[in-house]
């Protein structure tokens, strides 16, 4: 711990896009005074050592959320971090992760703000009471405690591994905002807010790593909010009498106040609803099968015609999509699925089911590192489907492939 009167050594990630080819670290000495914060250290450096140091700040009281950054490996606010509370005299300061670096400690927040809009963070009331406020009991107001205090500093966003892997995941802060409006008794959107968040980039992406909670300088719990959304989602999946209608809802039946840019996404979300909650629901369907009139008969087996054989190069898997059918309540329902076609050195085709063998997330092919990556917990597989990194216990499942008359057919392994 740096004592008052001594010096603290602030090691800062420096990167100037006009000069540097890549970031590097520089260390500056700052005299320690009582109550010195990391933000004040940065100002000391800007004013006395290097005027080109770039960092954002405004309120210096942990309410504006400008100075989110990484301090000795932990995400938080520079203004709220007291030098005297840090072990050792060396403090490493780096920009927020998961956002493009612009200069020094400044990152491009455009994606971050854009994701906030995706969750429709504004109140959408049905009817506005004339000449008076909405009546809301103190208990109902308490319902949104812990959900409306977010200062959008980006600490949770930077700490979240899901945000790192899935570029479309709105991030913990977005989910927190969504739950805040879902739980607000004045809001009229109700379960529509959930549909909005149940696609493959939504709530089910979260795997309870609690990094967001640990990082949050306001002690909020985005994980808790996501859990609430998940519970509501499952409840809704089984109880809403109108769920089928909602799946087919057209954008023009939505409230007029929603901006055009969002309605396109909304309608996409609606169709994707079955793909998201539905997949989870599939597990529940097995459990609840006695509830239904006709017994299900599970997945259809047999060969599935995919289409013309795509052009596949050796060592470069190609993603294909196909529909697999399943019996549900006496009807065949189609589920979109993905697979990867791989050509090996001898020119033979094989197909890989990208469902991760760890917890069932869908892996994707990353051309840069030439591996299948799992967005959930960092699992990775090579072109043969063998595990190269992370927690998956077994290789990816290979599928049967055949080509007949120029058409490609797939068959999932029958257990």
């Amino acid at each position: 711990m740096a004592q008052i009167g001594e010096k603290a050594f602030i090691e800062i990630l420096r990167y100037d896009p006009e000069v540097d080819r890549k970031p590097h670290y520089e260390t500056y000495e700052v005299p320690v005074v009582k109550g010195l914060t990391v933000l004040e250290c940065l100002y000391h450096i800007l004013e006395n050592h290097d005027g080109s140091l770039a960092f954002r700040s405004s309120c210096r009281a942990a309410v504006c959320g400008s100075c989110g950054m990484k301090i000795n490996g932990k995400f938080g606010l520079a203004c709220r971090t007291l030098v005297e509370n840090i072990k050792g005299v060396k403090i490493r300061v780096e920009p927020l992760a998961n956002l493009p670096l612009v200069k020094d400690l400044v990152v491009d927040m455009a994606d971050f703000y854009e994701k906030y809009t995706i969750v429709e963070p504004y109140l959408i009331p049905k009817e506005i009471p004339e000449g008076k406020e909405f009546y809301q009991s103190p208990d109902d107001r308490k319902n949104v405690d812990g959900l409306v205090e977010c200062i959008m500093c980006g600490a949770c966003y930077a700490a979240c591994t899901m945000t790192a892997w899935d570029k479309q995941f709105p991030g913990p802060f977005g989910m927190l905002a969504a739950d805040g409006k879902l739980r607000d008794t004045r809001d009229s959107l109700g379960n529509e807010r959930i549909i909005n968040l149940t696609d493959e980039h939504g709530i089910w992406r979260c795997h309870d790593e609690f990094n967001c909670m640990e990082a949050c300088p306001k002690h909020l719990s985005p994980t808790g909010a996501i859990h609430h959304l998940k519970r509501e989602s499952v409840k809704y999946r089984f109880t809403s009498p109108k769920r089928n209608e909602l799946v087919d809802a057209k954008p023009d039946t939505l409230p007029a106040v929603i901006p055009e840019a969002l309605t396109a996404r909304r309608s996409f979300m609606k169709t994707a609803f079955w793909g998201g909650t539905g997949v989870i629901g599939a597990g529940f369907l097995l459990l609840f099968s006695p509830l239904f009139n006709k017994p299900t008969r599970g997945w259809e087996t047999g060969w599935i015609k995919v289409g013309e054989v795509p052009d596949v190069q050796t060592g470069k898997p190609v993603e294909i999509t196909y529909k697999r059918q399943k019996w549900e309540r006496g009807q065949l329902v189609s589920y979109p699925k993905r697979a990867y076609l791989v050509k090996n050195d001898s020119g033979a085709l094989s197909a890989i089911d990208p469902t991760c063998t760890h917890l069932g997330c869908i892996c994707y092919w990353d051309d840069a590192i030439r591996m299948f990556l799992c967005p959930c917990h960092g699992g990775a597989f090579n072109t043969e489907g063998k595990v190269t990194l992370g927690p998956p216990p077994t290789p990816l499942v290979l599928m049967n492939v055949k080509v007949e008359g120029g058409m490609l057919y797939l068959q999932e392994e029958v257990a």
Binding site: D16, P17, E18, V19, G35, L46, E47, N48, D50, G51, S52, A54, F55, R56, S57, S58, C59, R60, A61, A62, V63, C64, G65, S66, R80, L82, V102, K103, D104, V106, Y113, T117, P121, Y122, L123, I128, P129, G131, K132, E133, F134, Y135, Q136, S137, P138, D140, R141, V144, V148, E149, I151, M152, K181, D184, R186, H219, I258, P259, E260, A261
Partner: protein
């Protein structure tokens, strides 16, 4: 050369600016919104205690009214406020607060489900509506969320510094901005410009204001010839934590907190026997400062205690969670078990860009609202809970009036003035950033802070103010000899801070000169050598105009509609 054209330009991302943007966008106007920080980072979000409106929800507030609110505001401002403006604001207050509630602000609630209200300084009834002690944060986020629903009409340019007005023939045609992302100057042309750039607290070292509240937004029009008003009236908030000067809301005292000196005495009984701790801010701040001067600071140091312990854990957790977090984060103490060390600090700029009740200024097409403006509703001292109200009411008025003036005109196509304005500004900045001298601009700023903190503070006198004025003018001279500023283009904060310090110096000069000339004590302006209010000579607004040789002062009458000046007793 980058030229952006919009029907209307709004500068400032705080509550007043955001409300003005919302209003103009709701009215279908094409808005270019410029803010030097992303809107939700603005200082409005730091407001804690609440927003005043005579909703009559509180059991003790059933007899409250907009008129009573106006009277309290007038008296609180020591009768310097324009009473027509005050009445516009207080009449609109209940409508505004309910509108914010409809927009989604999570106000705290009474048991009957209505918006909760608490007592505040200088108010005859408990009329301050609050959302815990995060009212500003909630309001700012709700108005920002409203903007998100209208993004097709509003183009947000965040991290663009407005640095100059484009004017000709007493008409504003747009602004010049410094694009922080690229370091380039970019021009914006429009039919009207609204300034909502906030206060100038960072002229002081001991201030509750954020780093962003520098007053550059007041200096810009001042340099362009728009007069500024009543700048000598600076509010010192009684309760800022020592060291970091972060605000402890007046709501704490509204909920019943005590102020205690070294003898454990509730000393306010000697200064405001009826109102005690919830007297207006100027009176409480002077009381604390007097206690300190007379040696009754805790442990002989320059602070007294704000004590909330008797309110109990439940009430503090429920209504004052924000200040509890601040105490824990920055002082390492828990206010539930320990009293909080506090001292008054600069908090609010009553003065600002001179404008009328429609937010229009002397220059056509140039509007101002919020803390950067002086309508004037706060007079010589603002009441707690009236600043959030002012930003919303006058933000809406500015947005509406500007929208009505520009609607249907389309984006301006005449860019003839831009080239010359850009060239001039470029040359000016080029000179500013390449002086190659020896002075560190940040040291000049620190010295300015010391002058303002010590000589232009709560208690003022001729000797101090003359010394301060000379000191500021010396600093201005030294500023001509500053070192060259770092050269990078991308996110060069060195350049923006240097510009802000230049603004600090000019605004400080106006504050100090106004205070020196005004030989009376009124509201936030207390002269030990002229301890009483002098209505005969000084019931008038100070107007300052920029000249090359320093500010030129003149005066303007106060609008009185209902209430003649009377003695202020609490």
């Amino acid at each position: 050369m980058d030229v952006h054209a919009h029907e209307l330009i709004v500068v400032g991302g705080g509550l007043a600016g955001t409300r003005a943007v919302d209003e103009a966008a709701l009215r279908g106007v094409d808005v270019g919104w410029i803010s030097k920080i992303y809107p939700i980072r603005s200082h409005s979000g730091e407001a804690q205690g609440g927003i005043n409106a005579a909703l009559c929800n509180h059991p003790d507030g059933k007899d409250d009214s907009a008129e009573r609110h106006a009277y309290d505001t007038t008296k609180g401002g020591d009768f310097l406020g324009d009473q027509d403006a005050i009445q516009i604001m207080t009449n609109q207050a209940p409508i505004t607060v309910r509108e914010m509630e409809h927009w989604g602000v999570p106000f705290s609630r009474f048991a009957d489900g209505t918006i909760a209200q608490r007592p505040f300084g200088g108010a005859g009834f408990p009329r301050t509506c609050y959302g815990a002690d995060r009212t500003g944060h909630f309001l700012l986020h709700a108005t920002y969320q409203k903007y998100l629903t209208m993004r097709e009409r509003v183009h947000l340019y965040d991290e663009y510094y407005a640095i100059g007005l484009i004017t000709e023939d007493n008409t504003c045609h747009g602004i010049i901005t410094f694009n922080l992302h690229t370091g380039n100057l970019e021009a914006f042309v429009s039919h009207a410009v609204i300034f909502a750039t906030g206060g100038s607290g960072r002229n002081y070292g001991r201030t509750t204001n954020s780093y962003s509240s520098t007053g550059l937004g007041v200096t810009m029009p001042y340099w362009a010839g728009v007069p500024i008003k009543d700048m000598e009236f600076v509010q010192f908030h009684p309760t800022a934590i020592i060291g970091k000067h972060i605000l402890m809301t007046e709501g704490a005292r509204g909920e019943g907190a005590y102020l205690l000196n070294s003898e454990g005495e509730r000393f306010m009984k000697r200064y405001a026997p009826n109102s005690m701790e919830i007297a207006p801010r100027d009176i409480v701040a002077r009381a604390i400062e007097t206690e300190l001067r007379e040696g009754r600071g805790i442990n002989g140091e320059k602070y007294v205690h704000l004590d909330v312990r008797h309110l109990g854990k439940k009430k503090i957790d429920e209504r004052l969670p924000g200040i509890k977090a601040i105490c824990e984060d920055f002082l390492g103490i828990d206010p539930i078990t320990k009293p909080v060390p506090i001292r008054p600090a600069q908090h609010y700029t009553m003065g600002g860009i001179d404008c009328d009740t429609t937010c229009k200024t002397e220059v056509n097409g140039f509007y101002a609202c919020g803390e950067c403006a002086c309508v004037s509703v706060h007079g010589a001292n603002r009441l707690g809970g009236n600043s959030l109200l002012e930003t919303l009411v006058f933000g809406e008025i500015a947005g509406r009036n500007a929208a009505l003036a520009v609607k249907g005109k389309g984006k301006p196509t005449d860019h003839s003035l831009v080239k010359e304005a850009l060239r001039k500004k470029e040359a000016e900045l080029d000179e500013l950033y390449n002086r190659g001298g020896t002075e560190n601009p940040y040291e000049i700023r620190d010295e300015l802070h010391a002058i303002m903190d010590n000589e232009v503070q709560i208690f003022r006198n001729k000797e101090d103010l003359e010394k301060a004025l000379k000191g500021i003018r010396d600093l201005e001279k030294r500023f001509h000899n500053i070192r060259s500023i770092s050269k990078g283009k991308v996110y060069n904060y060195d350049k923006t801070w240097t510009l802000e310090i230049k603004a600090n110096l000019d605004i400080s000069e106006v504050i100090t000169l106004g205070a020196l000339v005004r030989e009376e004590s009124r509201g936030g302006h207390a002269r030990t050598d002229f301890p009483t209010r002098d209505d005969e000579k000084w019931l008038k607004h100070t107007i300052a105009r920029f000249t090359e040789d320093g500010p030129e002062l003149s005066y303007k009458p106060v609008t009185i509609t209902k209430w003649q000046p009377e003695e202020r007793k609490y």
